[in-house]
Symmetry: C2
Subunit: 208 residues, 2 copies
DNA sequence: CAATGTGAACGTGTTCACAGCA
DNA sequence: TGCTGTGAACACGTTCACATTG
């Protein structure tokens, strides 16, 4: 049950299972099979069972999984039983959109501070935040419990900003800049890059 | 050289190679090795060479790749030599942010029409667009050459909207709704789901 | 009897290592 | 000599199939 031996793809899928379970829960389901989860997510029951087996035995043979129990287990495995305060870096158009995005908070991801490396932005108000200078990053990490940084700066500045985040103790980075960031071992990065998605999509759309 | 035998992961990486090449080009590089590309992207030279080998032989042994040539080849492979008009569905907060996003157009992805399934939104102005009703989708596909749909509607409506897009001849979908969409064979979907990214990130951040 | 949990088989993707060529 | 292109070896992820059990 050691984290290091769980394939990363499996970890990437666990949140999907949570989603499917929440959906089923809203529909009043209390006991659920890997088959049912698979139908929601368009994946095979075997894969779901295999994925879950990396973490333990949560089901009852011949019956299925108690939805409530499985949901709690998954949340526990992923560390989603506590909130995760995050800080935003970059309050341009994209950064402002991220601040106004209502999808994070209900899942326990709350932006608690906004930073910017440009002096023009520092001190201005964005939503409920007063934009702070990068040198105050340590305060967010040490006094606000922030371990996640959301990067929404232009690509030229992104690597520098990421370095600063890491230097100040940030452990996870959600990067919206269109670059392939370098981070040291042990730092987790997730890239949000819609252009990349479109550019690979066209391969399958061209000539027809 | 048949597309169907190119692993999808390879296709997903090609846009990264384009990025790296553009960066190197700006720095005045004219001949480039797989090593150099790998350094930019933090990947091994072998992987880059192997990926390229699915499509042909673009380099010169002992020397490397002519940057300009490789760039053109990659753009051609991905179908990025033409523009790709796209339509947006959903002009709520997220949809408006997407319309205002300046990252798509320079890469040849231009939003040319905005739709919404809610009667309240239809007819209103968003940016340069007048929001159109879903029933006019076919017009965008047939008369504006749209084959990509960008979905930015609430999750409850997302599957319905995706079905409508597919029914009207859309071939590729960039989905921002937090669902696992079902699409028939031959339709390409890319999901943009930052919450999912965060929820898998925390697995590696918890307990420390 | 129905659905889990899981080794074993399979398939896919990555890395290695080197032959071949400019 | 240096770097590509690529079979072969390897590692990783998925699927199968079935023994197990409530």
């Amino acid at each position: 049950m050691q984290s290091s031996e769980v394939p990363e793809v499996v970890v990437l899928r666990l949140p999907l299972y949570i989603r499917a379970l929440l959906q089923l829960q809203r529909e009043g389901v209390e006991v659920v099979s890997s088959q049912q989860i698979g139908e929601r997510l368009h994946m095979t029951p075997a894969q779901i069972r295999k994925d879950l087996s990396y973490f333990g035995k949560f089901g009852k043979q011949g019956r299925g999984y108690c939805l409530r129990v499985l949901l709690d287990e998954l949340r526990d495995i992923l560390g989603l039983t506590t909130d995760w305060p995050a800080c935003l870096v970059g309050v341009g158009r994209l950064g402002r959109a991220i601040i106004n995005y209502t999808g994070f908070a209900p899942e326990g991801f709350t932006i608690v501070a906004a930073f910017d490396s440009s002096d023009d932005q520092v001190g201005t108000s964005v939503g409920e935040f007063t934009v702070r200078p990068m040198r105050e990053l340590a305060d967010a990490v040490n006094n606000m419990g922030v371990s996640i940084g959301i990067v929404a700066v232009p690509s030229e500045q992104a690597q520098t900003v990421i370095d600063q985040l890491v230097d100040n103790g940030i452990k996870g980075i959600l990067n919206y800049a269109p670059i392939a960031p370098y981070v040291p071992e042990g730092i987790v990065v997730r890239n949000i890059d819609p252009v990349l998605s479109l550019q690979s999509m066209t391969f399958y759309l061209k000539d027809r």
